[in-house]
């Protein structure tokens, strides 16, 4: 390394020591086993991975993937029109709109999850309102259901989707649309052939962020879901902080990262298919 790039040395050391090495250790531990006290025993085997193929865990992981995909799809459906609206609004509206979608990005997700406890619990805001209006006679059980988990996930991660899409729409060359309408494409056609492919990078970034974050999020399920709605991240978390089965927790982490990478690659491939062959918008 040249003298002028010595400034990188501390960072490289730091990230190696506290990012790369720990992750390698986790991969290593996934091939170990544990003793009765929960200590890791250095004995190479694939038991931890074998445990994963228990139908119980396979089912949980399947549920997690479904939940993450549904969350991502819902976030995309809700976010794209909103981002589009703000990006195409007048300058004043745009400034306000951007501020309004940036703020929730920086509000702690714990707080935002907690907000739904306040709203959905038996004596919560929603039930009280419905009772007062006479729609229901008995409070509804909304908290600790799968629906509450999905709602919480969408609510928590929607800013992760809106912002990248907004950035992509904003950076898109608006002259392209004028050129398209000059060539006779308007409305849906120009949206489908120009806008959507041009904002692909934003959709990609947003979807990856939402998908990975949903899969890795144990707090929403913990707070809004019941015991039965545990997701893979809850299992991982409990292997490290409760049950102390590190090899199993490590194996699940490795599986989580690898399947996420595969799904992202598949999604990326689907996005670059026939209709979406525009070059990266960023």
């Amino acid at each position: 390394m040249k003298k002028s790039s010595m400034g990188l040395l501390p960072v490289l050391l730091w990230l190696s020591l506290f990012l790369v090495v720990p992750m390698l250790i986790v991969v290593g531990i996934s091939f170990m086993s544990r003793d009765d006290l929960g200590n890791v025993v250095f004995h190479f085997n694939l038991d931890a991975y074998a445990t994963f193929f228990d139908p119980l865990y396979l089912g949980i992981y399947w549920d997690t993937i479904v939940l993450s995909i549904v969350t991502t799809a819902l976030c995309l459906l809700l976010s794209y029109p909103l981002a589009y609206y703000i990006a195409n609004a007048g300058p004043k509206m745009q400034t306000w709109g951007l501020a309004l979608i940036t703020v929730p990005f920086w509000i702690n997700f714990l707080i935002r999850t907690y907000a739904w406890v306040l709203l959905l619990r038996t004596q919560g805001v929603v039930n009280n309102l419905l009772l007062d209006l006479g729609f229901i006679q008995e409070p509804l059980q909304m908290l600790y259901t799968k629906g509450a988990v999905l709602l919480g996930m969408v609510y928590t991660f929607i800013p992760f989707m809106v912002l990248p899409i907004y950035v992509a729409l904003e950076q898109m060359d608006k002259k392209l649309l004028e050129a398209a309408s000059d060539l006779g494409a308007t409305g849906w056609k120009s949206f489908w052939h120009i806008t959507l492919p041009q904002t692909k990078s934003g959709i990609m970034t947003g979807s990856v962020l939402v998908y990975v974050s949903t899969t890795g999020m144990f707090v929403v399920t913990d707070i809004l879901g019941g015991a039965k709605s545990a997701m893979i991240s809850n299992i991982i978390q409990s292997q490290f902080l409760g049950a102390r089965n590190w090899p199993f927790g490590s194996a699940l982490s490795v599986i989580f990262v690898i399947t996420s990478l595969i799904l992202i690659a598949l999604f990326n491939k689907a996005m670059t298919s026939r209709h979406m062959t525009a070059k990266e918008g960023r």
Binding site: L12, L15, L19, P104, F109, L118, L163
Partner: protein, 268 residues
């Protein structure tokens, strides 16, 4: 540009905005509700804010949070800025590799980062506490500082530094009189982001904190799991206020100076 949005798009956007803000509005409103238990409104009060500041555990968590945030901000700002400056001098191939490594903390899920650090600290018998939280926070904050300072450096271009050298400045003088003043808004803004990230972090801290190093988000988590309380509403309201203020400050600082392209403090 004239707005050419369809009215349905406007209605959709309004509804999504209400969806995003209404729940938060309820937290803020209930933090001023004088009733401890009921969901009904029973009068305005500051009582919960007062009791928050006399709660010893909250104050302890606050002090832990601030210590962690301050220390991790200083180190991550220093390391991230150094990296952003130095990476310009390396060859293209190693730049791609090192740049990828510097992005990694933003990409990898918090839970993976948290648990792998827990494993590291346990394996090397480092007691969990403020120190381990600080190390974890530095690790992810470096990336955010790096990204923000890098955008500022890219915006500056190479010519200003060449001009300084041409006028007789050596490497240090060029850095001191030209590069540093030019990227200062990026550094300050990066530091504010690092501070906010640290203040807000729950996932990573949850894995690497010890019994005596509870931070505010960890405290909130514990309380939320027990159910709702008006003090938590007040605490959440304050935290929202602080984070949002800091972010707008960071955004403002980054885009200070005329003729600059507007930049975002977000990593994409």
């Amino acid at each position: 540009m004239k707005s050419k949005n369809h009215p349905l798009l406007g209605i959709h956007s309004l509804l999504v905005m209400i969806f995003i803000y209404l729940p938060i509005a309820f937290i803020i409103a209930y933090s001023f509700n004088s009733s401890r238990l009921a969901a009904d409104w029973s009068g305005f009060t500051f009582e919960w804010y007062v009791s928050l500041f006399s709660n010893r555990r909250v104050m302890e968590a606050l002090s832990n949070t601030l210590i962690v945030a301050l220390v991790s901000t200083v180190f991550s700002t220093l390391l991230g800025t150094m990296a952003a400056i130095a990476i310009r001098k390396v060859g293209r191939r190693s730049k791609a590799g090192i740049g990828g490594l510097l992005y990694l903390p933003i990409i990898i899920p918090d839970i993976i980062m948290g648990l792998s650090l827990l494993v590291l600290f346990t394996q090397f018998h480092i007691p969990l506490g403020k120190l381990t939280i600080i190390i974890a926070h530095i690790t992810f904050s470096i990336s955010y500082v790096y990204v923000i300072v890098t955008t500022r450096l890219t915006g500056m271009g190479g010519q200003l530094e060449e001009a300084a050298q041409d006028l007789g400045a050596d490497a240090w003088q060029t850095f001191r009189h030209v590069t540093l003043p030019q990227i200062m808004p990026g550094i300050i803004s990066g530091a504010i982001i690092a501070f906010t990230m640290s203040l807000d972090d729950f996932m990573v801290s949850f894995f690497v904190s010890g019994p005596s190093s509870t931070t505010l988000p960890i405290y909130i988590y514990g309380q939320v799991k027990r159910g709702i309380s008006p003090e938590i509403n007040a605490l959440c309201t304050l935290l929202i206020l602080v984070s949002v203020t800091l972010i707008f400050l960071a955004q403002f600082v980054l885009n200070r100076g005329k003729g600059q392209k507007k930049r975002s403090v977000l990593p994409f």
